[in-house]
Amino acid sequence: MELICCGPHEWCDTMKVTWATKHNSYSFFLSSRERSRDRHKTRSKDSRSEKSVTINTPPAEPLLGDSSVRGEQVQDDNWGETTTAVTGTSEHSLSQEDIVRITKDLEDSVGLDCRRYVTRAIAVILGLLVFFTPLAFLVLPHILWPEKLQSCGTACEGLFISVAFKLLILLLAVWALFFRPARASLPRVFVFRILLAVLVFLFVVSYWLFYSVRILDAQDENYQGIVQYAVSLVDALLFIHYLAVVLLELRQLQPCFSVCVMRSTDGETRHYNLGQLSIQRAALAIIEHYYCDFPIHNPALLSASKSRAAKHLAGLKVYNVDGPGNNAAAGIAQSQSRAMIAAAARRRDTSHNELYYEEAEHERRVRKRRARLVVAVEEAFTHIKRMQEEEPKKAPGDVMDPREAAQAIFPSMARALQKYLRTTKQQHCHSMESIQQHLAFCITNNMTPKAFLESYLMPGPTLQYGKDHWLGHRWTLISEVSVTSGLKDGSVFLLKCVDFSLVVTSKKIPYIQMSEEYIDPKSHKFVLRLQSETSV
C-alpha cells in the first residue's frame, strides 16, 4: 500500500526556517558575523524576488549594516519582509513551495526519501497486521489454553479452508490494487488512501479489543465461535477492499467535468473529460495526457512575436518636459503610459504588412524545402532493398544489417533534411544519431519513405523525442484552493513547468435529458409531389 502523506518534515521545515531567520536577524543586530549575514541576505533576496509584484524595490542593503549598531527599535525592511514571507500560512501550495525553495540546499534530497520511506513503512506494517490478525486469532487459543479448548468438529474445519482461501484472495487483491509502481509524487496526501488506512486500522484494533476482552480474558472454550469470529474478520476485510476499489478506481471513471488545457506559450488547447477527482489527481491525469497529445514545446517558434513586441516598445520614447518633482511618482508613471498608448494608437503602423509578407514567404520556403526533402528521401530509399533468402549468397561485404544500411543511405538525404529542419526551427529536437536510429528502425520494419518522414514533417508529442527533452520536467501545481479539494465547475489552476505553464479550466458536463421517439418502420411512405390545386 502506497501512502503519500504530509510527513512531519514539512512542519518542521516551517519551524526550522522561521527559527533560522529570526535567529539570524537577531544575530544581525547583536553581532556582526559575516557568514550569517550573507546567508540571510541571499535568503531574503530569494524571497523578495519570488514575492515581488510591485515595481518599487525596497531600499538597498547598506541600511542593515548601519542598523546593527543601533537597537531593535529600528525598522528594518528586510527583516520584516523575510519574517512575513516565511511565516505565511502553509495552506497554499505556493507558499509551501517558497519554503521548499528557500531551504532547497539542505532539505531537498533528504525530505523526499524520508517521505517515501515513512509511507512504505506504514503500508508494510498495516499489511502485516491485517494479514496476521486472523491467523493470530486462530492460533492463540491453542497456545494459551489448549486443554480447555473444545475439539474442532467438521464444520469448524470447513471454516479453516474458508479462512485460508479468503486470505489468499485478499492477498492477491491487495497486491493487485496497491502494489503498483508509483506514478508520481503528489504535493499533498491522497485523502482516500489515508481514510482507508485509518478505517482498516480502527477496524482491526476494535476486533483485537473485543478478542482480548471477551475471548483471551474469559478463555472461551467454544473454538468454533472463535473460528467464526476470525472468518467474519476476513469477510469484513474483503468488503473494505471492495470499498477501496470503488473509492480509488471506480469513482472517477464516470466523466463529470470537461477540462480545457491551454499551453501559455503558444495557445495549444486540448479538452479532456475527467470524473470526480481532487485537483492534484486531476492535474496528474492532465500531465499524463499532455505527454501524449500536445506537440512538443518549441521555444524557437516564439521568437518572432517577441521581436515584434520589442519593436513596438522601442519605437516610442517618453520625455517629461515639466521637470521633476511636479507630480507624485505614481502620477508620472500613469501619465507616461497613457501617453505611450495614445501615441501608439495614432502612429501609422505597417508591421502588419511585414508580418503578412513574411509569413507568405516563409510558407513558400517551407514548401519548397519539403518538396526537395521528399524527393531526396524517396530516392535514397530506392538504393537498398531487403535481401531474399533464395538469392545466391552475396559477398559478406555486400550484406548489411539495418544500422549499416541506414548509415549507407543517410548522406544522400542528410543535407535536404537538415535544411528542412532549420527552416521549420526543429533542428534542436533531432540529433544526427537519433535520425540514423529512426532510419534503421524504419528500414527494419519495411516502412515507406513517407512513413519515415512523418516524424520530421509534423511536430509530435513530447514523448516521441529523446529523453533529455522531458526527463527533467518538474511540475508545480498552482491553485487558489486546496489541492485536495475536488474539481468544481469553474475551477482554475496552473501547472507550471520551467519553460511554460498549462492553464486548466474545468466545466461541468451538463445534465443530459434524453427522450425517445418511436418510428414505426411501416410509416415510411412516399408519394409523388403533384401540383397542389386550390379552389377559390
Binding site: 403533384l530 401540383q531 390545386e533 386550390t534 379552389s535 377559390v536
Partner: protein, 128 residues
C-alpha cells in the same frame, strides 16, 4: 408563353372581371388554380413550356361566376387586381384571389388561342 429571364414578358391578354358569389360566409369565384414558383412545373398539363411556374386555371365550376365571366380551363393568370401573378407562390396567389374585402376580381389572363388569333389577324391585315 415562355419568357427569357431578364427581358420583359410580353403576352396578349384578355381582361376578365368576375363577381364573387356569396355562399354562406364565403366569397367564391368558382375555379381552381394550380402552379406557383414553389410548385413542380413539370406536372402542369396546361403549360406550353414545362418550366413555366405561372398560375394556371385547372378547373372551372360549371355555371359558376368564373365561367359566366369567360374564364376557361388552361388559362394562365397574369394579374389579379393589379397584382402580378407570374412570379408568386401558390399560397400568395390564393391569398390575392380570396381577399374578403373585395367582391370583384379583375384578371388579366392569357391563352394560346389569343396569340393565334392575333397572329391570324396580323397575317390577314399586314400593316402598311
Amino acid at each position: 408563353m415562355s419568357f427569357v429571364p431578364g427581358q420583359p414578358v410580353t403576352a396578349v391578354v384578355q381582361r376578365i372581371e368576375i363577381q364573387k358569389l356569396r355562399q354562406g360566409e364565403n366569397l367564391i369565384l368558382g375555379f381552381s388554380i394550380g402552379g406557383g414558383i414553389d410548385q413542380d412545373p413539370g406536372q402542369n398539363p396546361f403549360s406550353e413550356d414545362k418550366s413555366d411556374k405561372g398560375i394556371y386555371v385547372t378547373r372551372i365550376t360549371p355555371g359558376g361566376p368564373a365561367e359566366v365571366a369567360g374564364l376557361r380551363m388552361g388559362d394562365k393568370i397574369m394579374q389579379v387586381n393589379g397584382w402580378d401573378m407570374t412570379m408568386v407562390t401558390h399560397d400568395q396567389a390564393r391569398k390575392k384571389l380570396t381577399n374578403k374585402r373585395e367582391d370583384v376580381v379583375r384578371l388579366l389572363i392569357t391563352r394560346r388561342s389569343l396569340e393565334e388569333a392575333v397572329k391570324q389577324s396580323k397575317g390577314s391585315h399586314p400593316r402598311q
